[in-house]
């Protein structure tokens, strides 16, 4: 439970500090299956943006193809969105971000869109440390084409047609850690209390923020034998600790027992606080995060929560030393060197 959330009794009607109500962050009605985990994630994004008082039109929503990639229509209706091609959202996001470093980029992808067809682009956007939030709505199957296994399906997980998967799964959180992602988390679409603060922290993070959200497919992957069903996931959840997110400008009022929390201050002054509740995980230790994921997997458990955060990290624009003003705002006088410079170039070519 975060400090901000606890203030409101009827958040949908109460305006945030910018005067927007929760409704202002909603999108059109979902066309996914009733009970689909993806809709819970959309709702969590809506709430996170509302609570952070983000201007809706300063957000760009990007996606690839698949059920998950349809969801940007269902949140932030006042933001521009881009439903691109299968597995290629990272490159579109990269170009968009290079053009305007001032917007918040939220990429939504799925396990098929990221772990199969988009694996190459995913790996490279992580490497570049693009300043964006990258959410994978992970259900272990291809929903739009009727439930084929995806590359995140666990070995032995049974598909709706009854066959057990034999191929090794991709663990996207581990891969993101290995490729140098500076914010890595895993969550569950059914755990809003964890997902909302994680999303808020990811949105405030400067650099590449990755959240792998297990999001059961009620239609094709919610049966007995599947390791991505609601029942299985609920039975095997294990958390790194409860997450609090304290936005910049706000006072930390809740007090905790000494030694029971870890705090990381983000570049904008916001604070992410991990309440340890029995876990000794240090979210600043990349190797420990990888080891913890491996440990949980060995036992068939799903480790959720904030896994890793490097608040000092640099992002793509810092590597490139691009202008602090967005490139799309530069005028002709700043871009065109003019006739005299061209004459000098001509002279050098004679």
């Amino acid at each position: 439970m975060t400090y901000v959330r606890s203030r409101f009794e009827h958040p949908s009607a109460t305006p945030n500090s910018l005067g927007y109500t929760l409704r202002d962050y909603e999108g059109s009605l979902s066309t996914l299956g009733a009970g689909c985990g993806h809709d819970s994630i959309s709702a969590a994004i809506v709430r996170a943006c509302y609570e952070l008082s983000i201007q809706p039109h300063r957000v760009a929503k990007l996606s690839g193809i698949g059920c998950s990639s349809k969801t940007p229509t269902y949140f932030l209706g006042q933001s521009h969105g881009f439903n691109s091609v299968h597995g290629r959202m990272p490159s579109v996001a990269t170009g968009a971000n290079l053009a305007n470093r001032d917007l918040l980029y939220i990429g939504v992808s799925g396990d098929g869109d990221t772990a199969s067809i988009g694996m190459g682009q995913f790996a490279h956007v992580v490497r570049r440390s693009l300043n964006m939030v990258y959410i994978v709505e992970n259900n272990g199957c291809y929903g739009l084409t009727k439930g084929q296994d995806s590359a995140t399906a666990d070995v032995g997980s049974v598909s709706k047609k009854g066959s057990a998967n034999q191929y090794q799964p991709m663990d996207l959180a581990s891969i993101a850690l290995q490729l140098g992602a500076t914010f890595v988390a895993r969550s569950f679409s059914g755990d809003k209390a964890q997902l909302v603060p994680l999303l808020k922290a990811a949105m405030s993070h400067q650099g590449f923020a990755f959240i792998d959200v297990i999001s059961p497919c009620v239609t094709f992957n919610n049966h007995k034998g599947s390791t991505k069903s609601y029942d299985y996931v609920r039975d095997h959840l294990e958390a790194t600790g409860a997450i609090d997110f304290v936005p910049m400008r706000e006072e930390i009022v809740t007090s905790y027992l000494e030694g029971s929390t870890q705090e990381v201050t983000l570049h904008d002054g916001s604070v992410v606080r991990l309440q340890k509740a029995g876990s000794n995980h240090d979210p600043r230790d990349r190797s420990a995060a990888l080891a913890a994921l491996r440990e949980a997997q060995k036992d068939g458990d799903i480790l959720t929560g904030l896994l890793f955060l490097d608040a000092e990290a640099e992002e793509t624009h810092q590597f490139l030393n691009t202008s602090p003003r967005p490139l799309n705002a530069l005028s002709e006088t700043e871009l065109c060197p003019g006739a005299a410079a061209l004459e000098r170039i001509n002279a050098s070519l004679r």
Binding site: Q55, P56, H57, R58, A60, L62, P72, T73, G77, Q78, S79, H80, G81, F82, N83, S84, V85, R88, P90, S91, V92, A93, T94, G95, A96, N97, L98, A99, N100, D102, L103, G120, Q121, A123, H124, R128, H317, L320, N321, T322, S323, P324, L327, N328, L330, E332, E334, L335, C336, P337, G338, A339, A341, L342, I345, N346, L349, R350
Partner: protein, 612 residues
């Protein structure tokens, strides 16, 4: 034995080993000819490797100003590569000359009694004069340029002037280079009758022209055209486009106070990602481009379809090479016309630009950014290895400081305030081009969802067939509108008594121009038109309609431009006669002449041995 004689009209070919530093020495020769006021056209014929394989540099000198590849061997061969010596000796025209390194004796089997051998102990001289191994190798090249200068009568001051320019800021290197030139020059003067019958003479046929390669011109065009995001994946022969963009951007686009860059270059993981980035950046209001070659176009096709259908500006510079597949990656062709025109699945059509000179590479690249934003669609510029990677004599680059960027129909916040309801795909003006908004413009108006799926005029997803058709038909209307925006074809002087029409484009232009001159001297009058863009406009339709026969000159096997003309202009195939070359070398006037003569006067033509 006959000795060839010619002033300012011959071909010199340099045979070298790749990676031995010969190219800067060879370009010194070209620049000297250029500075003597004589039209010159060099061509680098190189292998796809880093070091060790044969490479050639073919230099045509033509006072008449013909800049196309002449073909038919060379008059002077500077044979520096033992590996290719046998074929290099064979390539010299009878009565011509072969310069070689006589430090080791020439294999007697290679000798010909109809050409003149000019032995120079290059390595021996270099070993004697220089101690460092790399210097010995490099200066050997400069020594043969010095010798050549004496043989063909290059003014020595022209060469020393060039060395001075080349090593400005590195003055220490001037003296040893000049010394190497002198060593070669003196050796030739002492041992051969200089100059040869083949010689240069200063003239004034260059004028204000410059010597530059097309890729550099494209890179500069992108700077002047306002590109801020370049996303690319390395591929021959396009790599130097982005290299040039980077080089000039670092000079011309860096904030003097802070050092911050007013541009971003991203080397993508592959061509798919490169095009994705270009689309993302353009969607977000920055002018962005990529450069690639045929294999890249194949990979970018999916994204090109998205940009066509979702109507996002994009600029793609395709420096064509010989395909299909990996093909001949270091040889030239004009063979991506159809794959570019119709890139991607479904009904797609793309705007194409065909530059023929570095000046046009510059102009068309800058224009491409205007066109992309005005038409809200990808603009594909089809240049090729011949134009992109070789130096060409070109009109100087020019820019009108009064010119402003044409950003097309983009609504700002004030304009959105005045609109009742924004519809991204509403054809308000009836020209097929709708109004777009850039993300982040207005707090409550103008946002929409860009998608590759079918949608209605308000960008809402729809599977309604009528709405889909309406949208597809509007895209056709937009393509019609594009005809007024794209560069018009160049119509050469038209004759009433012409026997046929000739159509060509890009790097076939110089060879075609030369062939037309020769035919005119023979009394064969033809009308000519150079295509500069697709969609073709009415001038092209009328030109084809006016002639009973139209020769279409191009550099691919399947006569792709001819196919495009027939498909888009409803022309009967019988009247369109293909004139083709697709061996990876630039088409020559001789190849064009043979085909046209053979077609117009089949009886009078005797078969000619295929030229080398």
């Amino acid at each position: 034995m006959k000795k060839l004689e010619a002033v300012n009209d011959f071909v010199v070919k340099f045979a070298n080993v790749n990676g031995t530093g010969s190219s800067s020495a060879n370009s010194l020769f070209v620049k000297a000819v250029f500075r003597m006021g004589i039209p010159v056209s060099p061509r680098n014929i190189f292998p796809s490797n880093i070091q060790g394989l044969p490479t050639w540099y073919e230099v045509r000198v033509s006072e008449k100003g013909y800049l196309g590849r002449r073909g038919g061997g060379c008059e002077i061969m500077v044979a520096m590569n033992p590996q290719s010596m046998q074929r290099d000796v064979q390539e010299v025209t009878a009565g011509g000359y072969l310069v070689y390194d006589s430090t080791k004796p020439l294999d007697k089997k290679l000798l010909r009694d109809d050409i003149h051998f000019l032995p120079i102990p290059l390595m021996e001289i270099s070993m004697r004069e220089y101690t460092d191994a790399r210097q010995r190798q490099l200066f050997k090249n400069v020594i043969y340029i010095g010798a050549l200068a004496a043989l063909v009568d290059i003014e020595f001051e022209v060469l020393t002037g060039l060395i001075g320019d080349q090593f400005k800021g590195k003055e220490k290197l001037i003296a040893p280079n000049v010394k190497a030139l002198e060593l070669g020059y003196q050796y030739a003067k002492d041992h051969f009758q200089c100059p040869l019958g083949l010689r240069l003479k200063c003239c004034d046929k260059v004028g204000e022209r410059i010597l530059m390669d097309g890729n550099t011109a494209c890179g500069l065009g992108a700077i002047y055209g306002g590109a801020t995001v370049a996303a690319w994946y390395p591929i021959t022969p396009s790599t130097s486009v982005v290299d040039a963009f980077e080089k000039y951007a670092n000079r011309l686009r860096v904030d003097a106070g802070t050092g911050a860059k007013n541009f971003a270059i991203m080397q993508a993981e592959d061509e798919l990602a490169a095009m994705g980035m270009v689309i993302g950046a353009n969607w977000n209001g920055a002018r962005s481009f990529t450069a690639t070659s045929g294999p890249g176009v194949s990979l970018m096709s999916e994204f090109l379809g998205l940009a066509y259908f979702a109507e996002i500006p994009a600029v793609l510079i395709d420096v064509q090479r010989a395909g299909p597949s990996t093909g001949m990656p270091t040889r030239t062709q004009q063979s991506d016309i159809l794959s570019a025109a119709y890139a991607s699945h479904g009904d797609t059509k793309h705007v194409l630009l065909f530059p023929a000179t570095p000046r046009e590479c510059f102009d068309m690249t800058a224009d491409a950014f205007d066109l992309a934003e005005q038409l809200q669609t990808p603009i594909i510029m089809l240049t090729d290895l011949e134009l992109g990677m070789n130096d060409h004599l070109s009109a100087p680059l020019s820019w009108d400081d009064k010119r402003t960027y044409k950003r097309g129909k983009v609504l700002n916040a004030e304009q959105l305030d005045k609109i009742e309801k924004f519809g991204r795909y509403l054809d308000v003006d009836g020209d097929g081009i709708c109004y777009r908004t850039i993300p982040g413009t207005h707090p409550s108006k103008g946002s929409f969802f860009t998608r590759g799926t079918s949608r209605d005029t308000y960008a809402i997803y729809t599977e309604d067939g009528d709405k889909y058709v309406e949208n597809m038909d509007r895209l056709v209307r937009k393509f019609e509108t594009a005809k007024q925006y794209v560069p018009a074809p160049e119509l050469y002087k038209q004759h009433d008594n012409a026997q046929a029409g000739v159509i060509f484009f890009g790097t076939s232009t110089e060879a075609a121009r030369e062939a037309l001159d020769v035919l005119a001297e023979e009394g064969i009058v033809l009308n000519a038109l150079r295509i500069r863009a697709f969609p073709f406009n009415k001038t092209v339709d009328d030109f084809i309609a006016r002639h009973e026969k139209v020769f279409v000159i191009e550099q691919n096997r399947d006569a792709q431009l001819r196919t495009l003309l027939m498909a888009e202009n409803d022309v009967p195939p019988q009247k369109m006669i293909p004139v083709l070359n697709y061996d990876g070398m630039p088409i020559t006037a001789q190849q064009i002449l043979r085909k046209i003569r053979g077609h117009l006067h089949p009886a009078t033509v005797t078969p000619i041995r295929k030229s080398v």
